[in-house]
C-alpha cells in the first residue's frame, strides 16, 4: 500500500499530509483533516453531497484521488464563512429555509458558490438559448435549476434553494 506526501491549501491554510495513494479527496478531508462538513452521500459522483471547490471550480470529492491535488487550493463548506460572518450563500440558505436535514447542504452551498462564479465567467448551460450570454444579474430560475442539478436533495428543498441562490447574488 503506497503512501505519498502531499502539499495543498485547504480553506486558506497550507497543509502537508501523508496519504494512502488510494484515498479520495473526500476521505482525506473527512478522516484525516477532520473536516466532516463535506458529506459522503453515494461515493459515486451521483449525488453531489461531497462537492468542494478546487481552485474555485466545483469538484466531486469522492471521485478525485487526493494525490492528484498536489499544490491545489481546496475550499470546503467550513471555509466559506469569513469568521463569524456567513458567506452570502450561507446566509441566503438560512433565510430561505433552503435545507432540511442538512446533509446535502454543504455540497449545495459549495456548488452554488462555484456556479455563480461560472455564470460570472459567462459559461453557458444546456438551457441557455443559442447565442445568448448569461450573467449573474440576469440569472433566472431555470438556469439555477439546471446548474444546481448535480446536487440531489431528498428532503425536497429545491424550491427554496432557487430563491436562496438568486438572493445570494447581491
Amino acid at each position: 500500500m503506497a503512501r505519498m506526501s502531499l502539499d495543498l491549501t485547504v480553506n486558506g491554510e497550507r497543509r502537508k499530509v501523508d496519504v494512502d495513494t488510494r484515498t479520495t479527496v473526500l476521505d482525506l478531508l473527512r478522516e484525516q483533516l477532520g473536516l466532516t462538513g463535506s458529506k459522503k452521500g453515494c461515493d459515486h459522483g451521483q449525488c453531489g453531497a461531497c462537492t468542494v471547490l478546487v481552485a474555485g471550480r466545483r469538484v466531486l470529492g469522492c471521485l478525485v484521488l487526493a494525490v492528484t491535488l498536489e499544490g491545489a487550493e481546496v475550499t470546503t463548506v467550513e471555509g466559506l464563512a469569513d469568521g463569524d460572518d456567513l458567506h452570502p450563500v450561507q446566509r441566503a440558505f438560512l433565510d430561505a429555509d433552503a435545507f432540511q436535514c442538512g446533509y446535502c447542504t454543504p455540497g449545495q452551498l459549495c456548488s452554488a458558490v462555484g456556479m455563480l462564479r461560472e455564470v460570472g465567467e459567462g459559461w453557458p448551460s444546456v438551457v441557455t438559448p443559442p447565442g445568448a450570454t448569461v450573467s449573474v444579474s440576469s440569472l433566472g430560475p431555470d438556469e439555477v435549476r439546471e446548474r444546481m442539478s448535480g446536487n440531489l436533495c431528498r428532503c425536497g428543498a429545491y424550491v427554496n434553494i432557487v430563491p436562496a441562490v438568486l438572493a445570494a447574488r447581491r
Binding site: 500500500m1 494512502d20 488510494r22 484515498t23 476521505d27 473527512r30 478522516e31 477532520g34 473536516l35 466532516t36 462538513g37 463535506s38 458529506k39 459522503k40 452521500g41 453515494c42 461515493d43 459515486h44 451521483q46 449525488c47 453531497a49 470546503t76 463548506v77 467550513e78 466559506l80 464563512a81 456567513l86 450561507q90 440558505f93 438560512l94 433565510d95 429555509d97 435545507f99 432540511q100 436535514c101 442538512g102 446533509y103 446535502c104 447542504t105 454543504p106 452551498l109 430560475p141 439555477v144 435549476r145 439546471e146 444546481m148 442539478s149 446536487n151 440531489l152 436533495c153 431528498r154 428532503c155 425536497g156 428543498a157 429545491y158 424550491v159 427554496n160 434553494i161
Partner: protein
C-alpha cells in the same frame, strides 16, 4: 367541526423563526453519526450475498485477513451471538442462511475505510444456491392473508354487499394499478459509531429517527440493561421511515467493536441501501367503483396484493385510505401478501397512503370522466358525514375546503375537461387533482422540564430532528407554553438517556413531543405558581408523561386532509413529462412554524412528484437482484425536475387532537401527488397511465 378562517400566506412563513440549528448546518459544524471525534476508531464494511437464496457453505477470509490494515473478519461462524428481538433482519451473522441477495454474510474491520473495503473485496464466499422467487404477482400461489396490516389495522374490512352494489351500478370502473419498489434514500446513509466502555456500557452515535426504541432493541440484542446503552443522534440526515427502527449498521458496528475491542465506524454505502434498510413494497391494486350517473358512489372495493420477505411479515396498509376518504354504502378492502426471496419491505413516507392514494385517486379521476363530472365536484359529492367505517364523527375534516381553495388559487374553474386537446407548440398541456389525507395520531412521550433561578427553562426529551425542524418548533412550543421568549428556553433532544419519546415518524413526532412539553409546562408553571413564583437556588423540575391522555379512546376519527393540483406538459412526440406547477392546500390543524412546515409539505410533494415520474426499483429476475442499485440508476427528482411547487394551509382549530392542536405534516405532502400528476398526464394526452412511474415508454412506443 371547526371554522376555516383563511389560508396562511407568505407573511406567516417570513415571520416564523429560522432553524435554531441552521447555522450549524450551513457552516458544516453539525455533526452526523460518523463525524463525532472518537479516539482509536476503526472502520467496518459489510460483505453481502451474491445469491438470492441458499446457504453459505464456505467463507474464505484468508486473503482478507492478509490484507494490510485488516483487523478482523466476522462471519456467522465467529460473530458474537445476539439475543432475540422481533426484527429478524437484525439477526446478523447468526446463521448460514441466505434469505435475499444483498444480505450481510461477513463484516470486515480495518484500520481505515480503505483497508476495510479492500478486505471486504478479498473475502470469498461460496454458496449452496437454491432457486429464488422474487417477482410479485397477484396470482402467486403462495398469496396469503396476513393477520393484520400495519401498524395494527384489520387486514380486510367489509360493509354491506359491495359486489351486488357494483354489479347494479349505473357507472362502473374496474381498473388495476401498480406501484413499483421504492427506496427511501435519505441523503445520509445509515451510519453508526459504536464503542464499548470498560464497564460494559455501549455508546452509539447513530443515524435514526428515534433512539428510545433503538436503545431497547440494542439492549435486547447484546444482553444489556437499557441503561447500559447510550444512543446519541444529534443530527440525522433524513430518514423518511427507513431510520425508524435500528438497521444492520448499528448492530454490525456494535458487534465489530466488541470483537476488536476498539470503537468502530460503519457507514453503509449507497448500494447497501437497496437491500439492507427497507423499502416500500411494490403493490398491485384493483379498484372497483360503482356509482350513480351523477357520480355518487354506491360501491367501493379496493383489493391489494403486495410482498414481504421470508424473514418477516411486513404488511403495508395500502387500502386503509379507502376506508375513510369517501362515502359509499357498500365497501370492502382486502390485503394479500406473498413471502418472496427479497429483503423485508419497511416503512417509507406515508406507508399505505402513498401507494394507496395513487390507485384510489386515479380511479376517482377515471370515474369523474366516466360520469362526465368535474373531478373536484365528484369528490365533493362523495364527502362522508362521518367516518364511513367506524361511524365516528371527524374531529375536523376540511377536504372540501382544501379542494375549493386549491381550485380557486390554481385557476381550476376555467378547465376544459376534454383530454388531449390543449397544445402549446410541441407540448400537450393538462391539469389534474387528487385528495390527500393522513391519520392525525399522537404517541406517548415524556418530557423533563426544569426552571432555574435565572428563569431559564430546560426541556429534555428524546425527540430527534431528522430535518423536519423539530428542534426549532419544540423550542417555540416550550416558549409559548411557558410564556417565555425562545431565548429563555434550552432544548435537549437526540439522546436515549433523556426521557423516552416517540420517534420522528408517522407524522406523530411533533404532536407527541409537543404534547409532553405542553403538559410539562403546565405542571412546571403550577409548581412555580404554588411557590408564588419563587424559584429555589437549585431550580424546580417536573417530568410529564402523556401516556394516559394518549391512550384514552377518542370518540373522533382524526385525520389531516389536503388537495393537490398539478399542471403537466407532455412532449407530444417523445412523451417526456414536465411538471411546471404543483400546488397543495392542506388542513393540518395548528401549524407551529410556518417556515419549516411549508418546507416539509413542499418536500413531501417533491417526493411525490419523484414517485410519479422517476422512482422504480427494477427487479433482476434472473439474479434475484436490483437492476438499478445506485443513484444513477434509481432516479429521484433532481433540481431541474422540480419547478413551481407550493404548499399552503387553511387555518384549522381542532380541539380533539392533542395538547398542541396539530395534526402532523411529515407524510401528507406525498399522499395524492402521484395521482394528481397521472391525472394531469391523462388530461394532457388522453393516455391513462396506471403503472408508476409514468415513463416515456408507458406514454408512447408500446407498439
Amino acid at each position: 367541526m371547526n371554522d376555516v378562517v383563511r389560508p396562511v400566506m407568505q407573511d406567516a412563513v417570513a415571520a416564523a423563526p429560522t432553524r435554531v440549528d441552521g447555522r450549524d448546518k450551513v457552516t458544516g459544524r453539525a455533526r452526523y453519526a460518523v463525524e463525532h471525534p472518537v479516539e482509536d476508531v476503526v472502520w467496518a464494511w459489510p460483505v453481502t450475498s451474491t445469491v438470492a437464496k441458499g446457504r453459505v457453505t464456505e467463507i474464505d477470509a484468508s486473503e482478507a485477513n492478509g490484507t494490510e490494515g485488516v483487523i478482523a473478519v466476522l462471519t456467522h461462524a465467529n460473530a458474537p451471538r445476539l439475543g432475540e428481538t422481533d426484527d429478524a433482519e437484525l439477526q446478523l451473522l447468526q446463521s448460514d442462511r441466505v434469505a435475499y441477495r444483498g444480505q450481510v454474510c461477513a463484516l470486515v474491520v480495518g484500520e481505515t475505510v480503505e483497508s476495510a473495503r479492500a478486505g471486504a473485496d478479498a473475502v470469498r464466499v461460496r454458496y449452496d444456491e437454491a432457486e429464488h422467487d422474487v417477482v410479485l404477482d397477484a396470482r402467486h400461489p403462495a398469496m396469503f392473508t396476513p393477520e393484520k396490516v400495519n401498524p395494527g389495522f384489520p387486514t380486510d374490512t367489509s360493509i354491506g354487499d359491495p359486489d351486488t352494489a357494483f354489479a347494479v351500478a349505473a357507472v362502473q370502473l374496474d381498473a388495476t394499478y401498480t406501484t413499483p419498489t421504492e427506496h427511501n434514500h435519505a441523503m445520509e446513509p445509515h451510519a453508526t459509531t459504536a464503542s464499548w466502555g470498560a464497564d460494559g456500557t455501549l455508546t452509539l452515535y447513530d443515524s435514526n429517527q428515534g433512539s428510545t426504541g433503538v436503545a431497547r432493541v440494542m439492549a435486547d440484542l447484546f444482553g444489556l440493561q437499557v441503561r447500559a446503552v447510550h444512543v446519541i443522534s444529534e443530527h440525522v440526515g433524513g430518514g423518511f421511515g427507513s431510520k425508524g427502527t435500528p438497521r444492520p449498521n448499528i448492530v454490525l458496528a456494535a458487534m465489530a467493536a466488541q470483537a476488536v475491542g476498539r470503537p468502530v465506524r460503519l457507514a453503509l454505502g449507497r448500494q447497501h441501501m437497496f437491500s439492507l434498510v427497507g423499502y416500500r413494497t411494490p403493490t398491485i391494486q384493483r379498484l372497483r367503483l360503482g356509482a350513480t350517473t351523477d357520480g355518487v358512489l354506491r360501491s367501493l372495493v379496493h383489493d391489494v396484493w403486495e410482498q414481504t420477505s421470508t424473514l418477516d411479515d411486513f404488511a403495508e396498509q395500502t387500502a386503509v385510505i379507502s376506508r375513510m376518504l369517501y362515502a359509499a354504502p357498500a365497501r370492502r378492502t382486502t390485503h394479500r401478501l406473498v413471502r418472496l426471496d427479497v429483503p423485508t419491505p419497511s416503512w417509507m413516507r406515508a406507508p399505505g397512503e402513498a401507494p394507496g392514494s395513487f390507485a384510489l385517486e386515479s380511479a376517482m379521476d377515471e370515474l369523474a370522466a366516466a360520469c362526465d363530472l368535474d373531478p373536484v365536484e365528484l369528490r365533493v359529492r362523495n364527502e362522508p358525514d362521518v367516518d364511513p367505517e367506524s361511524g365516528k364523527p371527524f374531529s375536523s375534516r376540511n377536504l372540501v375546503a382544501c379542494l375549493r381553495e386549491g381550485a380557486r388559487r390554481f385557476g381550476w374553474e376555467q378547465r376544459d375537461p376534454t383530454p388531449g386537446v390543449r397544445r402549446d407548440g410541441r407540448w400537450l398541456v393538462g391539469t389534474g387533482v387528487a385528495s390527500s389525507t393522513y391519520p392525525a395520531r399522537t404517541a406517548p412521550s415524556q418530557a423533563r422540564m426544569s426552571i432555574g433561578s435565572d428563569g431559564v427553562v430546560t426541556v429534555e426529551l428524546n425527540a430527534v430532528d431528522i430535518g423536519t425542524g423539530s428542534r426549532t418548533a419544540l423550542t417555540q412550543i416550550a416558549a409559548e407554553a411557558m410564556d417565555l421568549p425562545t431565548d429563555r428556553v434550552r432544548l435537549r433532544i437526540g439522546d436515549s438517556t433523556l426521557p423516552p419519546a416517540m420517534i420522528a415518524g408517522g407524522s406523530m413526532g411533533l404532536t407527541s413531543w409537543g404534547s409532553a412539553i405542553v403538559k410539562g409546562a403546565r405542571q412546571l408553571r403550577e409548581l412555580v405558581g404554588r411557590r408564588d413564583g419563587a424559584i429555589p437556588e437549585d431550580g424546580l423540575e417536573v417530568t410529564a408523561d402523556t401516556a394516559e391522555e394518549v391512550r384514552a379512546v377518542s370518540g373522533y376519527a382524526r385525520h389531516a386532509f389536503g388537495a393537490q393540483f398539478c399542471e403537466v406538459r407532455v412532449d407530444a412526440d417523445t412523451g417526456e413529462v414536465r411538471v411546471p406547477r404543483l400546488l397543495g392546500v392542506f388542513a393540518v390543524g395548528r401549524v407551529i412554524n410556518a417556515r419549516t412546515a411549508r418546507s416539509q409539505l413542499v418536500g413531501g410533494m417533491t417526493m411525490g412528484l419523484s414517485m410519479a415520474l422517476h422512482e422504480e426499483g427494477v427487479v433482476d429476475v434472473q439474479h434475484g437482484d436490483n437492476v438499478n442499485h445506485d443513484l444513477a440508476g434509481y432516479h429521484i427528482a433532481a433540481h431541474a425536475d422540480v419547478a413551481d411547487v407550493d404548499a399552503m394551509w387553511l387555518e384549522e382549530h381542532d380541539e380533539h387532537l392533542n395538547l398542541v392542536g396539530a395534526k402532523g405534516i411529515g407524510e401528507i405532502g406525498i399522499v395524492g401527488t402521484a395521482a394528481a400528476v397521472a391525472n394531469a398526464v391523462h388530461h394532457a394526452t388522453g393516455v391513462r397511465v396506471r403503472d408508476l412511474p409514468i415513463r416515456v415508454d408507458r406514454l408512447l412506443g408500446r407498439g
